[in-house]
């Protein structure tokens, strides 16, 4: 037998996630597997002859590459002599500069790197990451794909993504032959609005390189490495082939980052009982040794595997931190579905968002989930407003900005139109006007008209075969009146000539200016240092299009007061009258309750309720106080029956009887948003029944615990308006109004 509460919990999304206990033999362990080697390093004549307990003759290919390229022997003696805890403390110590730690960490072995981060709890890792990330300014990367591989939609989404502030856009393909067209669509979109972004297309290595050489992409990211030789071989690469590939990209001026992440070795059956973080440390040393400026890590597509284990989310933060300690740019994951639970997903995100990383997401899906060809993002297009609110709540730079709807529509349209022109100029299958129109307003590719897939694929192959390239695209745009986009693409391509974005953690700013760890180095040294929001960026983050001007809230529709004073209120003699005492702004400075009920109708309902019971109502207005107790109390003093209904302008109501203390009452209706006209009529009836001395059942009230959340801002403002109308020296008055 299960309780109903447990059943309710069992139905929550968190129970769709999988949780397991560690199993070291299968590599299902995060830190400190019993099969991890001891940390050790021995040098002979500046050559590493022992690495993590293994003598040189037993080195596998990865050990050899790491020993040869990754570890700085000069720093190693000093660094390996330090206790892991001592290094861990230095990481969180604002008085130890990043540069010193980078030097020391460069001398650590994989096993020691794991031991150091294992000393840190989550907030310590966050502080360390804020200090150790390479670039001072954090940024973000988007995923731009769709199931139909609709080019117009890709261009519109890319344009929107750049407009929202994404500094890198990554696309991919469902069918790999689409690659050149998808890369082209995202390239054009990426330079359409005020933003500017580098773009990539995740495909097989050789094709990826070709697209970049043709100028259809400007960076590459999916150079995967593994912490085990067997996994590396299954990935069809060696450390040397990857290092060569990195140089090949750089030789054409193309930015590259590698990819690694916890769990991949276990998933491929090659963990050898080693812990995920130990294996990731090996990956990162290969990345560094290969001369890559950076890495995409944070478990990436394996994320649910470390997250199934205790401490999984912490471990993923640890791997991001390890990369930063090795002076690598970090695009910190958050790019694959990490949980079914929104609470868990958001909690996980905080670990990268709050300290900031070079790219907080290595792919934030700007589309709805079903259009994400990377397997679904941890956050997607429909979470963008939430994300912008979180930035505003924390005053943290997550790399995005809220954009008004009309601006989004304009940039989407222009992106799609520009691509339409390029397709036409380059003889690609036409993008029809209806596709452009649909792309502007689409939610997903379901809203896009179908295209002739066979013709598109044939055109894509021809495009690649003929070697059409970035220069052709620039010329086509210029010829067809998209000079601004042509200029921006040209400016980005031109930067290749300088090699400026080959430096660590390079990104573009509007105006096609490059910043990187060279000219924007992270100089965090505690409060008042490092990256801070400047006033412009602060304004941008805070300016949600849907944030209201509080001064306009509750303003009456008409300047003309509807309820007018008509001389001092008299003291009633008639025991069959109930007084309705209204607050000082009622029917004048305010004209509706919190719920939005017009005061005129509320008053009519109260009067009707009193009349239902055969009594008469008299309305007076209280000026001395906006307090409900005082309003009700004043009313009861004036009422012939001694019963009064007191009502504030925001709609909060009380039934009071002469003789009770001001703050006491017969019935209180504190939640104005829940009071309907029917409620007010029932309140009127009850007041009359009290006046007649009849037994009365308190009027039912709805309990809505969300009401305070929803209305507290309006409550505050409406109450302020009521208080503004208080006149300390003015007695209550009779009122008149036009029926």
């Amino acid at each position: 037998m299960t309780s109903k509460r447990s059943l309710a919990r069992a139905n929550r999304p968190i129970h769709s996630d999988t949780f397991i206990h560690p199993w070291p033999e299968a590599g299902l362990v995060l830190f400190n597997s019993p099969y991890d080697p001891p940390a050790s390093l021995r040098l002979e004549n500046g050559r590493i002859i022992e690495l993590d307990g293994k003598p040189e003759r037993e080195f596998d290919a990865l050990d050899r590459f790491i020993a040869r390229h990754a570890i700085d022997c000069e720093a190693a003696l000093e660094a390996m002599a330090l206790e892991p805890r001592e290094l861990a403390r230095m990481l969180t110590d604002i008085n130890v500069p990043r540069t010193r730690l980078v030097r020391l960490c460069g001398g650590l072995t994989p096993a020691r790197l794991m031991q150091v981060v294992a000393e840190l709890n989550v907030p310590e890792m966050m502080i360390a990451l804020a200090k150790m990330r390479t670039r001072r300014t954090p940024a973000n990367q988007a995923h731009v794909t769709n199931r139909k591989e609709s080019p117009a939609l890709l261009a519109a989404d890319a344009a929107e993504a750049a407009e929202r502030g994404f500094a890198e856009l990554e696309t991919t393909v469902g069918v790999s032959r689409y690659a050149p067209l998808n890369a082209l669509a995202v390239l054009v979109g990426s330079q359409t609005g005020r933003g500017t972004a580098l773009t990539q297309c995740a495909v097989e290595e050789a094709l990826g390189l070709r697209l970049a050489l043709l100028g259809l992409t400007t960076y590459a990211e999916t150079l995967s490495v593994y912490g085990d030789e067997g996994a590396f071989r299954d990935g069809d690469d060696t450390p040397w082939s990857k290092a060569f590939l990195a140089s090949a990209y750089a030789s054409r001026g193309i930015k590259v980052r590698f990819t690694s992440g916890t769990g991949s070795e276990a998933l491929m059956g090659h963990a050898g009982g080693k812990s995920m973080i130990y294996l990731e440390a090996r990956c990162l040393l290969i990345v560094k040794g290969a001369g890559s400026q950076g890495v995409q890590n944070g478990s990436i597509s394996c994320i649910a595997l470390p997250e199934s284990l205790p401490g999984g989310v912490r471990a993923v933060l640890a791997e991001n931190l390890l990369a930063a300690m090795l002076d690598l740019e970090v695009a910190s994951g958050n790019d694959a579905m990490a949980s079914d639970s929104d609470i868990r997903k958001t909690a996980k995100l905080m670990l990268q968002l709050l300290p900031g990383t070079d790219f907080i997401f290595s792919g934030y899906s700007v589309m709805p989930r079903e259009d994400n060809l990377f397997g679904g993002g941890n956050f997607d297009g429909e979470d963008l407003d939430d994300y912008n609110v979180i930035q505003r709540d924390m005053l943290v730079d997550g790399g995005l900005r809220p954009v008004p709807e009309e601006e989004l529509l304009a940039v989407r349209r222009r992106g799609a139109l520009a691509l339409q022109a390029v397709f036409d100029e380059l003889g690609l299958p036409p993008i029809r006007d209806e596709e452009v129109e649909a792309a502007v307003y689409a939610r997903s590719s379901d809203d896009m008209p179908d295209r002739d897939v066979v013709a598109d694929l044939a055109a894509a192959e021809r495009f690649l075969r003929e070697g059409r390239n970035g220069a052709d695209v620039i010329r086509a745009l210029a010829r067809r009146g998209f000079r601004d986009i042509a200029e921006k693409i040209q400016a980005v391509q031109k930067l290749r000539v300088s090699g400026d974005y080959l430096q660590t953690s390079a990104m573009l700013l509007p105006g096609s200016r490059v910043i990187s760890a060279i000219n924007d180095p992270n100089d965090y040294r505690g409060p008042g240092t490092g990256y801070r929001l400047d006033s412009e960026r602060l304004r941008e983050i805070c300016d949600l299009p849907w944030a209201g001007d509080p001064r306009t809230i509750g303003r009456p529709a008409s300047e003309q007061p509807w309820l007018r004073p008509a001389g001092p209120a008299r003291r009633g003699e008639d025991p069959r009258e109930v007084v309705i005492a209204v607050g000082p702004a009622f029917g004048s400075a305010l004209d509706a309750t919190l719920r939005g009920l017009p005061h005129r109708e509320v008053l009519a309902a109260l009067i009707q309720g009193i009349r239902d019971e055969g009594l008469t109502a008299r309305v007076v207005k209280v000026y001395r106080s906006a307090d409900l107790g005082a309003i009700g109390y004043t009313g009861s003093q004036l009422s012939g029956s001694g019963i009064a209904v007191g009502i504030q302008s925001k709609g909060t109501t009380v039934i009071h009887r002469r003789g009770l203390a001001p703050l006491n009452n017969l019935e209180l209706f504190p939640q104005a948003p829940n009071l309907t006209l029917e409620s007010y009529r029932a309140i009127g009836r009850n007041a009359a029944r009290y006046a007649k001395g009849e037994p009365t059942r308190p009027a039912p009230v709805v309990i809505d615990n969300m009401a305070r959340l929803k209305y507290i801002v309006h409550t505050t403002i409406l109450h302020r308006r009521e208080i503004e109308q208080v006149q300390a020296g003015r007695d209550a008055e009779e009122v008149v109004w036009d029926e």
Binding site: A61, R64, F65, R68, H69, D72, T99, V102, R103, A206, L209, R210, L213, L214, G215, F232, D236, D237, T238, W240, S241, A243, F244, A246, S247, A248, Y249, A250, S251, R252, G253, K288, A290, G291, S292, Q293, D327, N469, G470, A471, I474, R475, A478, A486, E487, K494, L495, R496, V497, S498, G499, D500, L502, Q503, T504, R513, S516, A517, I518, N519
Partner: protein, 135 residues
């Protein structure tokens, strides 16, 4: 690189930059592209720029990145098809140790690519004498 260059080169030293065909950086305009005076072949980094960037990376303490950029400088002369062939040869089980040695020698001879050749020789050392998994 003994001279300290100020990064970014595109902003601080455009006068030092040339396209592969010798066009001055500042002449690489939209008009140059649309009027056919420049093409995709100009939108490429040169060995000289890569060596300057390597110097900047090394001065920032990034030895491995600098070495990568120096290998890249060598590869600017290597045609795309050859690059793809070398990459393919370096993948597991594709080439024997001897074949990789020959590849390294060719890179040295044809392109003076000493650093890249050294990397390939290292890969050769890590490759079994005979082909590991013939396919």
């Amino acid at each position: 690189m003994s001279e300290l260059l100020s990064y970014p080169l595109s902003e601080n030293h455009p006068d030092r930059l040339r396209t592969p065909s010798g066009l001055r950086y500042e002449d690489l305009t939209l008009e140059a592209l649309t009027e056919g005076r420049a093409g995709m072949e100009d939108l490429r980094v040169t060995a000289a720029a890569l060596r300057m960037q390597a110097g900047i990376a090394r001065a920032a303490g990034r030895r491995q990145l600098a070495e990568n950029l120096e290998r890249a400088a060598e590869l600017t002369q290597v045609p795309e098809q050859e690059i793809l062939e070398i990459y393919e040869a370096l993948r597991p089980g594709r080439a024997t140790r001897d074949q990789l040695e020959q590849l390294a020698a060719r890179l040295e001879r044809d392109y003076g690519a000493l650093r890249t050749a050294a990397l390939i020789r290292e890969a050769a050392e890590a490759t079994p004498e005979t082909r590991a998994d013939p396919d």
